[in-house]
């Protein structure tokens, strides 16, 4: 019971060298307002340091953002792979930014959800995060 009411802890990060961080600056603000605990890693991260942080911080969620080009198709799967290797697949991975339609099935298969973009209302994002974490915690209990 205590477990399911614990504050949602979320690591917000951009992997690689993309610098378009407008989205995560705003998202982090919204998540804090919604009562979540945000670990803000910002730009220029490797999948390794994102996963390390998420495990050290005992986070529920990793929120990844990417906009500039196509390399998210390397970084996002790598994050999932590293979590698996470290036995931390209970951490939910979500993605946003500019994730083109054709790539989504492959990412969904890896368990990545969200795919929020420029016009996704933030309440939709918050609800998605809360629901997914709730399900994950329920699985654990």
């Amino acid at each position: 019971m205590e477990n399911s009411s614990r504050k949602v802890k979320i690591v917000v990060a951009m992997p690689g060298l993309d610098c378009h961080d407008r989205g995560i600056v705003y998202l982090s603000h919204v998540l804090r307002e919604a009562g979540m605990e945000v670990v803000y890693l910002g730009r220029f991260n490797t999948p390794e340091n994102i996963v390390n942080t998420a495990i050290e911080e005992d986070a529920d969620v990793i929120a990844l953002s990417y906009l500039n080009d196509h390399l998210y198709m390397i970084f996002f799967p790598r994050v999932v792979e590293l979590l698996k290797e470290r036995g931390a697949n209970d951490i939910c991975v979500m993605a946003g930014g500019r994730i083109i339609e054709e790539d989504r099935p492959k990412l969904k298969e890896l368990g990545i959800t969200g795919f929020f973009g420029q016009s996704t209302p933030t309440p939709v994002m918050v609800e998605h995060i809360v629901e997914r974490v709730k399900r994950e915690r329920w699985k654990e209990n």
Binding site: G16, L17, D18, C19, D21, R22, V25, Y26, H29, R43, F44, T46, N68, D69, H70, L71, M73, I74, R98, I100, G117, Q118, S119, P121, T122
Partner: protein
């Protein structure tokens, strides 16, 4: 008449919902003579071409010369970019634009481990002197102006390579014109901060370009600070200009410390690269107010005597942030409106964004559309015939005055903090921008800011007007492009005279330890001629200044 329910307009009695400018300046219903009280025509407005240049920097504005008509360019390889240049020049472009790729901005080479997949993607990769040969093949540099969008420490190397190339080609350096962004401080809050640190070193290198350029490439603009990125990252119209002017003061003060009189360099450092967003009148007044603030600062604070030192050249990339991925064809209307504000605001140069900017780098078709927005405004619409046609409007003059006052408040505040580097390091400027960004996004979500097709007047994907948009290259292609570039640079490393490169770099290292006032451009050019790369050149300079060779601390110096 059928019996079924008739469709009624639900918006018949809508009122204009906007009562303040985008930056939050309250707007009245109507303006009148009383709003001009305290504004003196001669002191505050003055004729175009007269101090303080509120109405524009030339007396006859576009009758003397139309604005420079650029279109965003920066594609994959240097050869691809060269091909696009030739295409655009053939279609009437009068200036060229070069956007660096991510790793050029970061100052790392294509064979750096973190560069994998990034070389030559969403911008052009410039790493060595040879790249200039490919980029400008078959184009006469004496007859076209080139604008390099390189913001970070890499800008000094790109400038050195450009000058070394021009010399080798036998061009008359006094005829080379154009600009390079070359302003690293703003990167801390907007882009590639890793290659802007240490900030003092970055500012020193940017100052080297200014100093070298005023002596050797007198028609070149050696710094064109990036107000654009600050706007796109949150800064409102007032902050955008105030922060940029405060940042420019850092370089002005460095040049003065190096012993130069303000009039010896100010005329070459007064070019800003700004955004132009959708708030039409505010943007026009932003340009007018910024010219006035700059002129006053040069004359009153720095004692400039020459009119040229007080003339602020303004250039714009219309706001990418104002565009939508939904219904991309609507962006043509937005960009046109923003471009019109640029003309009415008396700009010297601008590039209208591509309608598909939200998707990818412009296609040939969207680039042609952007170019034709220029052509329609310049040749067809007659809007450019009269200098500053809005002057004297109660509203325009009063808003210009108000924005000037607000800009000065911020500039003075930063001055009190010890300058823009201090205000950056303390996080003040960054947090001011975040605050504005959050406010703006909130207003969009609450529909206080309407964005057609995005938060209001939306249609389904199927209902959208079909239009071609730029597409990401598939991942495999992106990786292959980057790999090809990586191989080119690896090959350069293998085939060059290693001893010559090492000697040149060691000499540069020695010179880089000589302190703030020792100009490094000649030694950089020497290294480039010996086929040193961007990463190596910046690496040894960084090491000589107690920073790591690699900004990401992944690789070591290995010659």
């Amino acid at each position: 008449m059928g019996s079924e329910e008739k469709i009624k307009s639900t918006r018949r009695f809508d009122v204009c919902p906007v009562t303040e400018t985008s930056a939050g300046i309250p707007l009245k219903d109507v303006y009148g003579p009383q709003d001009l009280e305290g504004i003196d025509y001669k002191d505050d407005v003055a004729d175009p071409g007269e101090y303080p240049f509120t109405r524009g920097i030339w007396s006859n504005m576009y009758r003397g010369k139309l604005w420079t008509r650029r279109v965003f360019t920066g594609l994959g390889s240097t050869a691809d970019t060269n091909e696009r240049y030739k295409y655009l020049l053939g279609k009437g472009a009068s200036g060229l634009y070069c956007f660096g790729d991510t790793i050029t901005h970061q100052g790392i080479d294509p064979d750096h481990p973190l560069a994998e997949g990034y070389a030559g993607v969403s911008g052009v990769s410039i790493v060595c002197l040879q790249d200039m040969y490919h980029l400008f093949d078959g184009i006469s540099l004496e007859d076209v102006s080139v604008s390099f969008n390189n913001p970070s420490m890499a800008a000094t190397v790109v400038y050195a390579a450009f000058v070394a190339y021009a010399e080798e080609m036998g061009y008359d350096l006094s005829k080379i014109s154009g600009s390079i962004l070359n302003e690293p401080i703003h990167l801390v809050y907007s882009m590639f901060e890793t290659n802007a640190k240490p900030l003092e070193l970055a500012a020193k290198l940017a100052t080297d370009v200014i100093e070298y350029s005023i002596k050797n490439t007198p028609r070149w603009h050696p710094i064109a600070p990036n107000a654009y990125d600050m706007h796109e990252k949150g800064a409102n119209a007032i902050q955008e200009m105030a922060f940029t002017i405060a940042i420019m003061e850092e370089y002005i003060q460095r040049m003065i410390k190096r012993g130069y009189n303000i009039d010896a360099f100010a005329p070459r450092v007064s070019v800003f690269g700004c955004a132009c967003d959708i708030d039409f009148f505010e943007e026009i007044c932003k340009f007018r107010a910024a010219r006035k603030v700059w002129a006053k600062l040069m004359k009153e604070k720095y004692g400039a005597k020459k009119a040229a030192s007080c003339r602020l050249y303004l250039s714009v990339h219309t706001s990418g942030n104002s565009l939508t991925v939904q219904q991309p064809v609507n962006n043509v209307a937005r960009v046109t409106l923003e471009s019109l504000a640029c003309v009415l605001g008396g700009l010297q140069s601008f590039d209208p964004a591509g309608y598909d900017e939200g998707y990818y780098i412009l296609t040939e078709h969207s680039a042609l559309t952007s170019l034709n927005i220029h052509n329609i405004l310049a040749y067809e619409s007659r809007v450019a015939s009269v200098a500053d046609p809005l002057a004297g409007s109660y509203f325009i003059e009063s808003l210009t005055e108000k924005m000037e006052q607000e800009m000065f408040k911020i500039i003075n505040k930063i001055d009190d903090m010890g300058g823009a580097i201090k205000a950056t390091e303390s996080g003040w400027i960054g947090s001011e921008m975040d605050h504005e960004l959050i406010k703006e996004q909130k207003e969009i979500e609450e529909k206080k800011r309407i964005i057609v097709g995005m938060n209001e007047f939306t249609v389904s994907k199927e209902e959208e007007v079909p239009i071609e948009v730029g597409r990401d290259r598939p991942l495999e292609e992106q990786m292959a492009t980057s790999k090809k570039r990586e191989d080119e640079i690896s090959k350069l490393r293998e085939t060059r005279d290693k001893k010559a490169v090492k000697n040149a770099l060691e000499d540069l290292r020695g010179q880089a330890a000589k302190g703030e006032d020792h100009n490094l451009i000649p030694a950089m050019m020497e290294s480039l001629r010996a086929k040193a790369t961007l990463g190596e050149i910046l690496g040894v300079i960084r090491e000589a200044n107690d920073a790591s060779y690699d900004p990401y601390e992944v690789i070591q110096y290995s010659l």
